[in-house]
């Protein structure tokens, strides 16, 4: 009985789609999936920007750009967890606003409060995420509504407490997290702290998505009923995704304090920007599909697009229009590519499944079939 299994495996290796054979072929195939195409898009935009403005190609300028983009990329990582679980987090911008205002009011000039302030902000972020998650999973209110209400409530509270006016920024030590740099680095001159934070968080995200938590999260996003039946604690996995999302927004807020002032409108529109970045990265709304680094690349692609528009001296008011056009085109392309990408696996399925009667596999069946059954 064991021999058919081994030939089965051998056969599956043999009948792998053609693009899966060589490393180069695999790379090219990966670049045509939505998750891979965003890297190509980001690279193309980078090249275009450098051609339009050769200064931008300078490593020092480039690395500062990467540092500037870190907050939105971190927000995209947070949003990724939630979207891949099939939910939305619209409260992100409000969380950023709340954290920025807390940094301004609680920490202020007092350097002694830096650490407690940081811990307080992270605890508050986790608490908001927990509340979002529990309301979504246990009370079964759609996450769109929960996080929308959270956004309204938080923004209202923040504006009520701050009077809607700008506050003095916190002390410079605290702001160093967002604006500080590692000096005297060869080639790139400096490495901004936000970029380091981003790299650490992105690496952690990749690691986390390979852990049981990440696998379960994808399964829950793909099919919650199936995940529940296979024994996953769906509510807890989803709740943790919300906690991670709010924590990411908190980190974004901490970084943004570094170079934006303290104002309740900081973080405005971050939720939609993060969702746009994630979707641009080929992550499917509805959950279960997508790579976290593609979401990060989506954030960079978006910011590069804005930079390019600025360099080309397009009126800043057209930014929205171009952004809208790009996301529709990108997602329409992705919707095609996911279906096209899935097709080979069904039509070129291992011929040892005689049930299939689709065109291509029926031609291979007579030759391959007896081999499988005979041995």
């Amino acid at each position: 009985m064991s021999s058919p299994v081994s030939t089965d495996v051998a056969q599956r290796v043999r009948t792998l789609p053609a693009h899966a054979r060589s490393p180069l072929g695999r790379f090219l195939a990966a670049a045509t999936t939505p998750g891979g195409a965003v890297f190509v898009l980001a690279f193309a935009l980078l090249v275009a920007t450098v051609i339009a403005n050769p200064n931008f190609g300078d490593p020092g300028v480039l690395i500062r750009f990467l540092g500037r983009t870190a907050p939105i990329a971190i927000a995209a990582i947070g949003q990724y967890y939630v979207i891949v679980a099939g939910e939305f987090d619209l409260s992100m911008g409000a969380v950023i606003a709340a954290q920025v205002v807390i940094a301004g009011n609680y920490i202020g000039d007092d350097t002694g409060r830096n650490v407690t302030g940081l811990l307080l902000m992270l605890a508050l972020g986790a608490g908001i995420g927990l509340l979002n998650g529990v309301l979504t999973t246990l009370l079964r209110v759609p996450s769109f509504i929960v996080t929308l209400a959270m956004m309204l409530a938080l923004l209202g509270l923040v504006r009520y407490l701050s009077g809607g006016a700008a506050d003095a920024p916190p002390n410079d030590d605290f702001r160093q997290i967002g604006r500080g740099v590692v000096e005297d680095v060869p080639i790139v001159e400096v490495i901004p702290y936000p970029l380091i934070v981003l790299v650490v968080l992105a690496a952690a995200a990749v690691w986390l998505m390979r852990r049981p938590f990440g696998r379960t999260l994808l399964a829950v996003g793909d099919n919650p009923a199936a995940a529940r039946t296979s024994g996953a604690r769906v509510w807890w996995v989803t709740t943790r995704a919300f906690v991670l999302s709010s924590l990411a927004a908190t980190v974004s807020g901490i970084l943004l304090v570094g170079y934006a002032g303290v104002h309740p409108t900081v973080g405005e529109g971050y939720e939609f920007a993060a969702i746009t970045a994630v979707v641009l990265g080929g992550v499917v709304l509805g959950g279960g599909r997508g790579w976290v680094l593609s979401a990060v690349a989506g954030a960079f692609a978006l910011e590069l697009l804005f930079t390019l528009l600025t360099v080309l001296e397009v009126a800043s008011t057209w930014r929205d229009t171009v952004q809208g056009l790009i996301i529709i085109v990108a997602v329409a392309f992705a919707a095609r590519a996911w279906t096209v990408g899935r097709r080979p696996s069904t039509t070129a399925a291992p011929p040892d499944s005689p049930g299939r009667t689709s065109g291509p596999s029926s031609t291979t069946e007579p030759t391959e079939g007896p081999t499988t059954g005979g041995i």
Binding site: M150, L155, T276, R319, V322
Partner: protein, 341 residues
């Protein structure tokens, strides 16, 4: 006895619950308004509430259609603004230009809806992204071409916003007329039934022989046209076309909140327009009471947020748990059949 009352509670439709929530809001509002020494049911106050309902009402009716079809429309505030500036520009304060202005505005709105519907149903882009994208595109166009107010509405057109029939504002009556039309569309026409089917499960609908693109396309066009109506009403109220009026009102998110508050499933396929109107009324009553109590405008959003989640939580649980009626309450006929066996 207990099972019977339990059954009765269970038999309550989500629209019934929304009605109860609305009743609760009205009672609470009456009490709170009375504490402030005012009469909730005074003609002036009722007029205020009904007038406040009209704009969000138009948009929420359209949003209900789109949500029932399993999509979303986030472009409504920008469509409302766009209609306002386009119509205002054409009217330019001249009564003779009212009809062309209205037609042009609604035509532009319908075109946007057509694009939304095409992107959603033919290109298979999620409604959230498609309408976010078109909304951004319109917002960029508005910001580039219209700085500040544009055009003006003639006084004959402004009458729509300020005239009353008895105690009822004309604008609200038109809105309720549209709601009645939407109810008829959903209950009595093939298009309406197909919309429910597509929203419930597009693939099953397709396998059942429904052209899935047409209902969704129609829902998006109707939604944009209704958002255009809201834009025209805003034009009548403000007497100028303001390119930011829609986004300032947060009509995109508030209309979706009203739809969900009205018992429509965000995933589509279940819900109705009556509930949505009740949801809009809940918002209007809430805002009115808070205005009477002079609650801080920022705190009002906090209250709104809490009420939305609390109200939706009341029935979100059972809405999903519930199985089709035939499995839970054996009717007389069923028991007779049982005995016959």
């Amino acid at each position: 006895m207990s099972t019977r009352t339990g059954g009765r509670l269970h038999g309550l439709t989500s629209t019934g619950i929304v009605g109860l929530v609305l009743l609760g809001a009205v009672i609470l509002g009456t009490v709170l308004t009375a504490i402030e020494g005012r009469n909730f049911f005074s003609t002036g106050n009722l007029r205020d509430i009904l007038t406040a309902m009209s704009i969000l009402g138009f948009i929420a009716i359209g949003q209900t259609l789109v949500v029932l079809g399993g999509s979303l429309d986030l472009s409504v505030p920008f469509v409302a603004s766009l209609t306002g500036v386009v119509s205002g520009g054409i009217m330019a304060g001249d009564t003779g230009n009212v009809l062309p202005g209205v037609l042009a505005g609604l035509g532009v709105a319908a075109a946007v809806g057509l694009v939304n519907g095409f992107v959603v149903s033919v290109l298979k882009v999620h409604g959230f992204i498609a309408s976010l994208g078109t909304g951004l595109m319109i917002s960029g166009y508005l910001a580039t071409n219209y700085q500040g107010n544009h055009g003006s509405a003639p006084s004959s057109f402004r009458m729509i916003g300020i005239s009353f029939i008895g105690p009822l504002p004309v604008s609200t009556l038109i809105m309720l007329g549209c709601a009645a039309g939407a109810v008829l569309l959903l209950r009595r026409t093939r298009l309406g039934h197909h919309l429910y089917a597509v929203g419930g499960d597009a693939e099953v609908a397709r396998l059942s022989g429904i052209r899935t693109t047409i209902p969704l396309l129609a829902a998006h066009v109707l939604c944009s046209v209704l958002a255009g109506c809201a834009g025209l009403l805003l034009l009548a109220r403000l007497s100028v076309g303001n390119p930011n009026v829609g986004s300032q009102g947060q009509y995109d998110l508030m209309s979706i909140a009203a739809v969900v508050l009205g018992g429509t499933l965000l995933a589509g396929g279940k819900g109705n327009v009556t509930g949505t109107i009740a949801g809009v009324a809940i918002f209007a009553v809430m805002d009115n009471v808070m205005a009477v109590m002079q609650v801080d405008p920022f705190l009002r959003n906090v209250v709104r947020g809490v009420v939305i989640v609390a109200a939706v939580a009341v029935y979100a649980r059972r809405e999903i748990d519930r199985r089709p009626a035939r499995f839970e309450r054996p009717g007389v006929l069923d028991s007779a059949l049982e005995e016959a066996r």
